[in-house]
């Protein structure tokens, strides 16, 4: 004899919202949503009340007003009289991008070298790299930035020491390293330099084709061409020939010591050097560990197999280990690049005019638009970070394991 139990009839009861698993998640989501909206409303109304109490409005009109303060270095045109706060922000953005770009490249180079060398069988080298990695990884970045800047400003000579002969220029009076900047000769393009640039561009294209050809040949016949030396020759020899045939169309503008400073040439400011170097060394230490982890993640059998085939250690590293390690390395590298970019906002500590110092510093100070300025600054870093991770995700998709 069986008893049939009817499904509970009767209408919907309120307690079902909590005890019935069909409705429970919906309940929780609704409550969470309401809470978030209440919180948001409180924040916004709090801001409105406080802005009103402080007699301030919320608008971005300040961006169109003339800034009136000086920004060094300004890599895009910036006129102290007419340029607006928007332009000042743009100058800062360019400065941020320059430091972030150079820092990322330098950090990658340093990190890859240190990571590979830390696995070296040479006791001294691997220990030295351990000291570097642990030293930079475990001390706050701000301290390194300030320390490196202090070494530059306190350790090197001011420009006037070059006048009195207390300090000397290098490389036949063409390069001077002062405590304010590194000054190097600037190339000056004269008549015929366009032809020279065109020739260099053509050579570059040739190199790309040659490398494709060499690769095909290797795949077809197994014969390996000395790609590096031939590429170098293609790049250098025609350019050198053209340079002399065209009558040396590119000359150098040497820095000269004026009243207070060197004039002419290119000057790379001490704040920028210190900041870039500190960012690169700091992030490089993290990248070194990522690279080391990536290499260790490739099974030992891979290198043993490569050795068994008779590949030398260098080729084993380049052709077998690194391509596989890259799959492990790239994703955490992206977040290191993002870190470096955002950390560049510590520039103010050494007086480098990045976007945090112009838009987020002086502009806010002059206009009193803390809220607007901070929002813009946040949006800029957000956009930049998303852009960087987007670009690297595309690259990651290209190198990651293809599963078919």
């Amino acid at each position: 004899m069986t008893t049939m139990t009817d499904p509970p009839s009767g209408g919907f009861r309120l307690s079902q919202l909590i005890y019935d698993s069909r409705y429970r998640s919906l309940t929780i989501q609704t409550v969470a949503m309401v809470l978030i909206m209440v919180l948001a409303f409180m924040l916004v109304s709090n801001i409105q009340t406080n802005l009103q109490a402080a007699g301030k409005d919320f608008d971005f009109g300040f961006l169109d007003r003339p800034a009136g303060y000086r920004i060094d270095p300004a890599l895009i045109e910036y006129d102290i009289v007419n340029s607006t706060h928007a332009r000042a922000a743009l100058v800062g953005i360019v400065n941020t991008l320059v430091v972030a770009f150079l820092g990322c490249i330098l950090a990658t180079v340093i990190g890859v070298f240190a990571g590979v060398l830390r696995l070296s069988k040479n006791w001294l080298i691997s220990r030295l790299m351990s000291v570097y990695v642990e030293g930079f990884r475990n001390v706050p970045l701000l301290l390194w930035i300030v320390a490196i800047y202090a070494v530059v400003t306190e350790g090197l000579s001011p420009p006037r020491a070059f006048k009195t002969g207390d300090a000397e220029m290098w490389f036949n009076e063409s390069v001077a390293l002062t405590n304010r900047y590194l000054t190097i000769p600037a190339p000056v393009l004269e008549n015929g330099s366009t032809i020279l640039l065109a020739i260099i561009a053509i050579c570059f294209v040739l190199v790309v084709f040659f490398r494709k050809f060499a690769r095909k040949k290797q795949e077809a016949t197994g014969e390996i061409l000395p790609v590096f030396w031939i590429s170098l020759a293609i790049m250098v020899i025609p350019a050198l020939l053209a340079y002399f045939v065209l009558g040396r169309p590119v000359s150098l503008d040497y820095p000269e010591l004026g009243g207070f400073n060197f004039s002419g040439g290119i000057q790379i400011g001490a704040p920028m050097m210190a900041l870039t170097l500190a960012l690169a060394l700091y992030t490089g230490a993290f990248i070194a560990e990522i690279v080391r982890a990536g290499i260790l993640a490739v099974s030992k059998g891979q290198s043993e197999a490569a050795f068994a085939l008779g590949l030398r250690p260098g080729r084993t590293m380049n052709l077998v280990i690194l391509p596989q390690a890259l799959r492990v390395i790239i994703p955490p590298m992206i977040s290191q690049f993002l870190n470096l970019t955002k950390n560049s906002s510590l520039a103010l500590a050494v007086g480098y005019n990045d976007v945090r110092a112009t838009l987020g510093g002086t502009t806010i100070n002059l206009t009193g638009k803390e809220l607007e300025g901070t929002i813009l600054l946040g949006l800029f870093y957000l956009a930049l970070s998303l852009l960087i991770s987007g670009v690297f995700n595309v690259y990651n998709n290209r190198v990651k394991l293809k599963e078919r």
């Binding site: 060094d72 400003t153 207070f260 510093g361 002086t362 803390e370 809220l371 929002i375 957000l382």
Partner: protein, 339 residues
């Protein structure tokens, strides 16, 4: 997701905007301490001494206000602010008032929504260079590298001065006076420019002050004074009249030495009586008791005493009264009457 980011940004900014309430006097009384924004360290104006106690000319104004409002000149919480953080600190309510070598300008008074309550030091922007540079005028500074504090009027004056004189310069932006001093001494800049009083105070702390000269040009007007938030007039009145009480006290000969005696009983001079509360009830008009001004003066002395003790000619900073003398001595200090 987009909304989350926006709310996050709003939340962060909301914290900065903070709670700006209109009853600062009540808040200070309830709290029992005065939050006073000062500089991060400028000897003579505001700097902690060897025992960690804040001393200086601007600090004296803070203490006078605390004595007037709370009855205790030591009930002050000093908040060090840089040129860049000071206005945010005041606008957000983190400090109740700023006494921080801040120049009274049109845009700060109006656009930034602050209220300057007066001038406690009439200053002007000057330049300091090492003596061995052989420079005798600011107009010879073509091509020089200049150390400058960010977020200050000096930053803008400098741009104007060099533009008018058609000469070039490179600016090194610096956050605090201490950093500027270090950069200047290391030779990372040829010139340090700020208010002349600040230059004198900075030079006084050098090992060899004689190796540095102040150039003769004073390129701007820099009326420095305490300021409060716009819109809280009661609190503005308290700070304004405390400053005026210090200035009037000097004019009327009330000093920290004789103030308790004079405040004990009404004397011959009706203005002194009104100031010290032995006649009339001026204190109640600004929500304080009758002895408020007597306490403010007893805290660190009248304006002249504060000046002489902290930055005057007998201190290492050695500033002359100059424009900051009483109007009766040919200066600009002129307190409205206590009536």
């Amino acid at each position: 997701m987009k909304n989350t980011v926006l709310f996050g940004a709003l939340a962060a900014a909301g914290l900065v905007a903070g709670a700006a309430q209109a009853d600062t006097l009540g808040d200070v009384t309830d709290r029992g301490t005065l939050n006073c924004g000062v500089s991060t360290g400028l000897v003579g104006f505001a700097a902690p001494d060897a025992n960690g106690v804040w001393q200086g000319f601007d600090v004296g104004v803070c203490r006078a206000v605390a004595a007037a409002v709370l009855g205790d000149p030591n009930a002050v919480n000093f908040v060090p602010t840089t040129g860049q953080t000071r206005f945010t600190a005041l606008a957000s309510g983190e400090v109740d008032m700023l006494a921080r070598n801040t120049t009274w300008t049109f845009s700060r008074d109006t656009d930034l929504s602050f209220e300057f309550v007066g001038v406690n030091y009439y200053d002007g922007q000057g330049f300091m260079v090492p003596r061995d540079l052989g420079v005798s005028s600011a107009k010879e500074l073509d091509g020089a590298t200049v150390c400058i504090q960010t977020g200050t009027t000096t930053e803008l004056n400098l741009a104007d001065f060099f533009r008018v004189n058609n000469i070039e310069y490179t600016a090194v932006p610096i956050e605090t006076n201490a950093e500027a001093q270090q950069q200047y001494l290391a030779g990372a800049c040829d010139v340090y420019t700020t208010d002349a009083s600040g230059l004198a105070a900075t030079r006084a702390t050098f090992e060899a002050p004689g190796d540095h000269v102040l150039l003769p040009e004073i390129v701007s007007k820099e009326p420095l004074g305490p300021l409060v938030r716009h819109g809280d007039n009661e609190w503005g009145d308290v700070v304004r009249w405390t400053l005026n009480a210090l200035i009037s006290a000097e004019e009327l000969g009330v000093t920290s030495a004789n103030v308790s005696e004079l405040a004990g009983a009404a004397g011959d001079n009706p203005e002194v009586n009104r100031l010290l509360g032995t006649e009339g009830e001026l204190g109640s008009y600004i929500g304080l008791d009758a002895d408020w001004a007597a306490r403010a003066i007893a805290a660190g002395g009248n304006y002249g005493e504060l000046f002489e003790d902290n930055i005057g000619e007998n201190t290492p900073i050695g500033l002359a009264r100059g424009l900051n003398a009483q109007w009766t001595d040919g200066g600009l200090l002129y307190s409205p009457p206590f009536r």
